[in-house]
Symmetry: C2
């Protein structure tokens, strides 16, 4: 997608500089646009853990590149398979909820160990990461096309009025390599000339809605309005939302969805007001090995500092403020589980299906 | 309630200084504790509109004192009834949702016009405001006693484990003259030695949870944990909340509740997880003249600046940061409606009742 006049992806590799991988360091948006070069396993681990990149698909890509950077590290020259197995476990420990991380790392490692020489292993690791990114981009494009049909359907009923789409957190191109998951259909509709308007929910504590989704939509020129997370129910109660579109960090084989904390509350409001609630994700976010989201998906707990403090712009500086009284304690759960019963449909790269075992099996039979 | 070693109410009048009314200016909490003297109708209007005081009961009290300050104003000497009628309308325009404001002003004015002289009108206005405050304090004490029985019941079942109470916004003593509505039962339980723990939801955009409820509970020594508004569903899904207790800005005769934006989402989550959801309010917050909350309660829309900016402490200063990209648009609805079907019971100064016409009529037959 474009930033100003230039096309960007969230993570990229330049064959002319095989010693590094570059990312948009999302911690600085929307106040500053900064590129970071990652040159080691540790760099990729930190980028994932400290959320220089975030969003399930780009976390997976960053981890795949992390294994490549571990492979080219000369200190891993001896016992390379053991070193890369350790590297894989290290990367997987960065964040627990998004299954893409685990998938990318495990699948890459499985291929790497087949390599007969150091050079071959490096080549496999690089090609895996490159192919992974290409595949994820294609999946997001497909999600955009399938999701577009749903927005077109609503646009017909609205007869010229804008289609009001509510999203949570950031499931746009910044969360992916390009295009986005939940926002891919929005961009497809917008570029096709459909009148869309996005309700962007702030997404405390890290404000990915305010900071990232608003910035993305602003770059693309898509009309949007910011709301605090509390406001979603009121809007739906008053017919101001036509459809909810969110992403997923891990979806079970039965269609339960782990996504940014607060998603479940929005799904409840959608259900209470007969607003369709769609979850868009590439199959790399589906964990076919588990069924029950609440029992089986680990929910990350992050530092309570993210609740006590907030970052923003003070005149020309970006600073952090303390919000709460001294000594206050906070609990910072990063995700919640939306049970499949509250989800209208899933949107994947293979099409749209029910959030159920049968629905998912219909699109991905080989996984069952 | 105590602030440090000293007893405070949120608003008070000193017979020795009949030219002023004093309030705790809540805009500075928790960073600073400031007293403001109000000496005119305009001061009370500003205090309500700009939220130097907030919370339905204290808004009502402040408005009653506003009429008193209008009554003693020498420029209202002639055509006093007309001036005070204008003052009443002016006060009622400060904020639309809390019905206490309307009730207090209308009832005070009704009495004032009966006065035969300026002195008598001033006396009536003063006595009305004083009596109003005394009655509200008594109501809150009663709510505390009735609500205590509900917490005691849960405490029995928890057999020594803390009772986990989730609240939203601030419905503590800062929202009232003293004691609180939703927090009155919590204080009663705590002072009786029951092991309680409060989940304090931040309450964006103005963070009354973080800034006021956390501060109140800290002063009183009640254990609490801050969460962002998004987290309530996750906690309830995982058995971490035993009861929800919130206040109300206006409750219809059929039991629909207008309260701080986001209350409805919490009620949905409580309902989905069989967590009891109680709303505590004095009858001054019940609007017996209306039935349907969604159709009949006006929802205040406040300045979008409250969403784009946030206030907090930077080292020793309190400053305001910009959170969103330049040019972003925001919608700032202050309240939402929780339909009576999602409310387990109402807690009032006359007891506990169903959130229904029959329930409310049972406690307040004279109002029907």
């Amino acid at each position: 997608m474009k930033v100003g006049d230039q096309e960007y992806q969230t993570i990229w590799f330049d064959n002319g500089h095989p010693e590094k991988v570059s990312i948009i360091d999302q911690r600085y948006l929307p106040f500053d646009f900064k590129i970071e070069d990652l040159t080691s396993l540790k760099d990729t681990y930190t980028a994932i853990k400290e959320m220089h990149v975030r969003g399930a698909p780009v976390i997976g890509a960053c981890a795949a590149w992390g294994l490549y950077l571990a492979a080219i590290d000369p200190t891993n020259y001896n016992e390379m398979d053991e070193a890369l197995t350790n590297a894989a476990n290290f990367l997987k420990s960065a964040r627990p909820t998004a299954v893409n991380l685990e998938h990318a790392v495990d699948n890459s490692l499985k291929e790497i160990v087949k390599g007969c020489s150091r050079e071959e292993k490096i080549q496999i690791a690089r090609e895996f990461a490159q192919d992974y990114c290409v595949a994820e981009i294609k999946s997001c494009q497909k999600i955009g096309q399938f999701g577009l049909s749903l927005i077109e359907e609503i646009a017909k009923q609205k007869a010229g009025e804008p289609v009001n789409i509510l999203t949570h957190c950031n499931a746009g191109w910044l969360a992916c390599i390009d295009y986005g998951t939940a926002l891919a259909p929005v961009y497809s509709a917008f570029y096709k000339g459909i009148d869309v308007h996005v309700w962007v929910s702030e997404t405390r504590p890290r404000n990915q809605g305010t900071r990232l989704t608003a910035w993305e939509l602003k770059q693309a020129g898509v009309p949007y309005t910011l709301i605090v997370d509390n406001t979603a129910g009121h809007l739906m109660q008053n017919g101001m939302v036509d459809v909810c579109l969110v992403g997923s960090d891990r979806t079970t084989a039965h269609g339960d969805v782990a996504n940014k904390i607060g998603t479940y509350l929005k799904a409840l409001a959608a259900n209470d007001n007969q607003v369709p609630f769609y979850v868009a994700m590439p199959s790399s976010s589906i964990d076919f090995s588990i069924k029950d989201g609440r029992k089986e998906i680990p929910i990350e707990e992050r530092d309570q500092r993210e609740i006590h403090h907030i970052e923003g712009q003070l005149e020309d500086w970006v600073v952090e403020l303390r919000l709460s009284p001294d000594g206050a304690k906070a609990a910072n759960y990063s995700f919640d589980i939306t049970p499949s019963r509250l989800i209208t449909k899933l949107i994947t790269e293979r099409g749209i299906c029910d959030a159920s075992e049968d629905g998912i099996k219909g699109l991905f039979p080989e996984k069952f």
